[in-house]
């Protein structure tokens, strides 16, 4: 019997290519294409008075220069609102090239096409644009004050206002024995993949068709949007996501202006055109995430049980809302984590500012929601003098409560209903892993050495594998090669490996014979995309279903050939054989030959399927039976009724330097439950990467805008992404609570790692310092400043009743 691959740490099929320089990323393609570059707005809010290209057009090698006035048809209209919502009453999207007014620094104003990128950038520098500066809105406070408006169409700078409530929250809080009012803040970060965006378009004048390559998380989405914008039949547009150097959310947005403009220019110039985003462009013209101001009102009993929870937050959506209000909706629903408050009300305002727009970045609103909820849990524990894990336990949804319906609508427009999870078991594992109950003794020893340490915790639930659907296609060639395709895309998640593992197991073939293609509309036309930790759940299950259907067909054909009941057959190592009688067998490759009745043989093996090849023929039946199709292939879709909910709990021990306020993570522990794991090595890698991004968001990364809307740290020199020296050793353990919702019992894992990190680190720093931490990220100088304000009495002490603390003296004044 073939070794089972599902669940095994199979080495990645992608890697030999990628470690030897044979990857093919966007800029590796189209070596002879013309290059595009953009003149982008230097102002956050300004009216364009004049554009003078006289000098630029004289530069040798410049092919074309385009402004908004050159756009035609639907390319001159606003970019699409991808996800409308009734509460998004003032949606706003940009144009491919700025029309009259720019709304943030970095908006594309002029496109230059030239013989190469160097020349295109020379030309950009020679283009003079006159602007009349307008009043700028930066930051949520200014947006709320609304002394200036980002869009005249959005009064008060409000894009959306949404309220969801379950129960009578106000009454529940009023009746509760205890009450707390809390305020929190999270700043901006960004996906920041190592490869920026990029587009390469080949116009075929003979066929009047476009082949488009984009570094995207959705090739089907880009294809449909480009066809619509260019007024072309879908059949004349192909879109391929080649190797993609990371996505993390930013590349799910589509079509980017450049994804429309590059094929538009290619058609207009009858040439190949390519644009590759540089790092500064990525900072100022892609997308950011995270920034929110939150106010929490919570009522609870003596055990810390939350009787009523009311959350109000303001979400900075930047200058445009093409991705709708998905991020704040996720915050407002996933905030609840593993808990069941008696009553819950969440109200949010999604606000415009003259900054880069905000769209999902790994975690997608969850880190903010978890921050609010977990800070609240810690505050309750501190208020009551209870252990922080006891307060969490008191609020957990229990195994017997599953499936648990929160009574809210999730980001997919369907009920927020948890399918499975064992939160008490996860917590017990976490406490073991980090040594929760031994921490007080550890802290005592550390304090004796003059060190200041703290222990933090954070729990989350993540809705993964949202619909509407994905599909899988499997074709077995007459050589025995198994071609697998699915429409969604890959950005490093190892899809070529995990999908091959599924197929090898389901079909009974060697993984070496399985070849997976993702994100190529030539191979699979229907798909949604790779986001929301959905690829393994959605495409994994679709591919498994397709494999089962192909297997069934193979057994049927082989059963006829071997004159046995298909139920008595098995497939092992690519050979269909009678169970218990390995001599009676037929190769899957031969079954593939027989599945396709031929008139013309193309090689020796194909002769077996030709019309005079002999064998018994029932002349009353057609060569291809009713309801059958030629070829050993199959296609299935997986479309779930709802998301499947993964969960996890993290704990960290940090040390804060009493003098310098430097923050060091001494230990970082993760318990993760994503149902059955296809490849634990890859799941672990996803968790590692997520935690690292979480550490960045907790301690280092922020987008610093000045009052004029200039992004002051738009480079890797100034935007501090963690190097290896900043990411601690990550200790992980897994729980596997299978999802009852899908055939493979799996849940998504892509985003998990980053979700609770800011909450965990804040919890640990708070525990070390003895005063509340309410705003993230936090740098040493900010912590130092908090210490000063605490010493001046401006920030209260924690009550420090927790059993994980010793009766340490108050932190020394610095």
């Amino acid at each position: 019997m073939t070794t089972k691959l599902f669940g095994a740490p199979v080495q990645r099929r992608e890697d030999p290519r990628l470690v030897s320089g044979n990857g093919r990323y966007l800029d590796d393609l189209g070596q002879s294409a013309l290059a595009a570059a953009f003149v982008r707005s230097p102002y956050a809010h300004a009216r364009i008075l004049d554009i003078d290209v006289t000098d630029a057009i004289e530069i040798p090698g410049v092919i074309a220069i385009y402004t908004y006035e050159d756009l035609d048809g639907k390319t001159a209209e606003r970019l699409p609102l991808l996800i409308p919502h009734p509460d998004l009453t003032n949606p706003m999207t940009g144009y491919c090239l700025s029309r009259e007014v720019v709304k943030h620094v970095g908006e594309a104003v002029v496109m230059v096409v030239a013989s190469d990128r160097y020349v295109a950038e020379d030309a950009c520098q020679c283009i003079k644009v006159d602007y009349e500066q307008l009043a700028v809105v930066v930051g949520l406070e200014n947006s709320r004050a609304a002394e200036a408006l980002v869009h005249a169409e959005a009064p008060g700078n409000v894009a959306a206002h949404m309220v969801q409530e379950v129960g009578d929250t106000a009454a529940a809080i009023a009746a509760a024995p205890h009450r707390l009012d809390l305020s929190f803040q999270i700043e901006r970060s960004a996906s920041m993949p190592m490869e920026g965006k990029g587009v390469y378009a080949r116009w075929d004048g003979d066929e009047q068709s476009i082949r488009l390559y984009s570094s995207t998380q959705t090739s089907t989405g880009v294809r449909a949007a480009v066809a619509a914008k260019l007024g072309m039949p879908l059949a004349k547009v192909e879109c391929i996501a080649p190797d993609v150097g990371g996505g993390f959310g930013v590349k799910i947005v589509h079509p980017w202006a450049e994804e429309v403009l590059i094929p538009w220019a290619a058609r207009r110039l009858d040439a190949e055109v390519k644009w590759v985003e540089d790092r500064r462009e990525h900072f100022i013209s892609s997308a950011h995430e995270r920034a929110q101001l939150q106010e929490v009102e919570v009522g609870f009993d003596d055990a810390g049980r939350v009787l009523g929870l009311s959350v109000k937050f303001w979400h900075d959506n930047g200058a445009y809302t093409p991705y709708g209000i998905i991020v704040p909706i996720i915050t407002s629903t996933q905030l609840l984590g593993p808990y069941k408050p008696g009553a819950y009300r969440c109200e949010f305002f999604s606000m415009y500012t003259n900054t880069v727009m905000v769209t999902p970045y790994r975690g997608a609103g969850r880190p903010q929601g978890v921050f609010a909820m977990e800070r609240t849990m810690d505050a309750i524990a501190d208020y009551l003098g209870l252990d922080r894990t006891d307060v969490r336990s008191a609020n957990f949804i229990q195994v017997e409560d599953m499936p648990y319906d929160h009574g809210l609508l999730f980001q997919d427009g369907r009920p927020l209903m948890y399918d499975s999870g064992d939160f008490p078991a996860s917590l017990a594992k976490l406490k073991d892993l980090v040594g929760w109950d031994d921490f007080a003794a550890y802290r005592k020893r550390a304090e004796a050495e003059g060190r200041r340490v703290g222990l933090g915790i954070g729990c989350y639930v993540e809705g993964t594998g949202v619909g509407p659907y994905e599909g899988g296609h499997i074709q077995i060639e007459t050589s025995g090669r198994v071609n697998v395709s699915t429409g969604l895309t890959s950005q490093g998640q190892g899809h070529q490996t995990v999908f091959a593992q599924i197929v090898a197991d389901e079909l009974g073939v060697s993984i070496d014979d399985v070849f997976v293609t993702t994100g190529d509309t030539r191979r699979f036309g229907y798909a949604v995309g790779t986001f929301a930790s959905r690829a393994a759940v959605m495409s994994g299950n679709a591919i498994a279903l397709a494999a089962r259907s192909v297997r069934e067909k193979a057994l049927r054909i082989a059963g006829e050939a071997l004159e046995v009941d298909p139920g008595d057959l098995e497939i092992v190592d690519g050979i269909v054989r009678v169970k218990g009688d390995a001599e009676s067998s037929i190769a899957l490759a031969t079954v593939a030959v027989m599945s396709n009745p031929l008139r013309y043989a193309f090689d020796e093996s194909a002769q077996a399927a030709t019309q005079f090849a002999g064998g018994t023929t029932d002349y009353s039946k057609p060569p291809v039976a009713d309801g059958e199709e030629p070829g050993l292939e199959g296609k299935e879709y997986y479309s779930p009724t709802q998301a499947t909910f993964a969960n996890g709990m993290h704990a960290a021990i940090v040390e804060t330097d009493p003098e310098t306020a430097e923050i060091t993570i001494l230990r970082y522990c993760v318990i993760h439950d994503c149902g059955r794991m296809i490849n634990p090595m890859i799941v672990e890698g996803q968790v590692h990467g997520g935690v690292a991004q979480g550490v960045g968001g907790a301690l280092y990364e922020r987008m610093v805008y000045d009052d004029a809307g200039q992004l002051l740290n738009a480079s890797f020199m100034d935007f501090l992404m963690p190097y290896a020296s900043e990411v601690p050793h990550i200790e992980t353990d897994h729980l596997e609570t299978p999802s009852p919702l899908n055939p493979l019992g799996i849940k998504g894992a892509g985003e998990a790692g980053c979700i609770p990190v800011s909450a965990v680190i804040a919890s640990a720093i708070e525990d070390a310092e003895g005063f509340p931490i309410t705003s993230m990220p936090i740098s040493p100088d900010e912590l130092w400043d908090l210490r000063r304000r605490h010493a001046e009495g401006l920030i209260p002490d924690l009550r420090r009743g927790s059993m994980t603390t010793t009766n340490a003296p108050k932190p020394t004044k610095t």
Binding site: S20, I65, V119, E195, A692
Partner: protein, 187 residues
């Protein structure tokens, strides 16, 4: 707004580079970065460009064996050196097994210890930053063939990776040192 048919570009110079043991000559403007020259003139696209200001390390190549940021060098200034890119890391080893007739030996390209370690330890995800790590670690292990985990972490702390959280890259450094020892060769 304006389209032109002029295509006469700036003056080109002949640039000769020694890359991965092979001499290449191509014409390019003097301002062409080494990274762009390798990628676009020589079509050695394994060297990636992540930031174009020398911070991320994705474009790291070996210049006479020393890791250098190829986005911070002009191609014309690299002419006197031996350049090694990710395409040049694979070793060519004698292979006397796998279907060869008895006694026959073929020379097979084989993953270097560092490449092999990255595959075994899941040291890469999207793979975009990976060539810069591979070249950096290759040079590091030549000078430090037996690093501790702390030293391994320090050695890779000049390169950015957004996918892996570095855990498995640290493991890869240690594993590469082991493989090199097992093979009795350098990294």
């Amino acid at each position: 707004m304006t389209e032109t048919i002029r295509t006469d570009a700036e003056p080109l110079v002949e640039i000769t580079l020694h890359v991965n043991g092979v001499k290449h000559t191509a014409a390019a403007p003097t301002r062409r970065l080494l990274s762009d020259f390798l990628r676009h003139e020589l079509r050695l696209t394994g060297t990636h460009v992540g930031c174009e200001h020398g911070v991320c390390g994705a474009c790291t190549v070996l210049v006479d064996g020393t890791p250098m940021r190829s986005c911070l060098m002009f191609a014309v200034t690299a002419q006197d050196y031996e350049i090694t890119t990710v395409e040049g890391l694979a070793e060519h080893v004698e292979d006397s097994g796998n279907g060869n007739p008895p006694g026959a030996i073929t020379i097979m390209p084989t993953m270097s210890p560092v490449q092999q370690a990255f595959i075994e330890c899941h040291g890469l995800q999207c793979g975009f930053c990976t060539p810069g790590f591979l070249t950096t670690i290759t040079a590091y292990l030549r000078e430090n063939p037996d690093p501790t985990e702390t030293e391994a972490r320090e050695a890779i702390s000049g390169n950015l990776c957004r996918c892996t959280g570095y855990q498995n890259i640290v493991k890869s450094v240690i594993r590469a040192a082991e493989i090199a020892k097992e093979r009795g060769v350098g990294a």
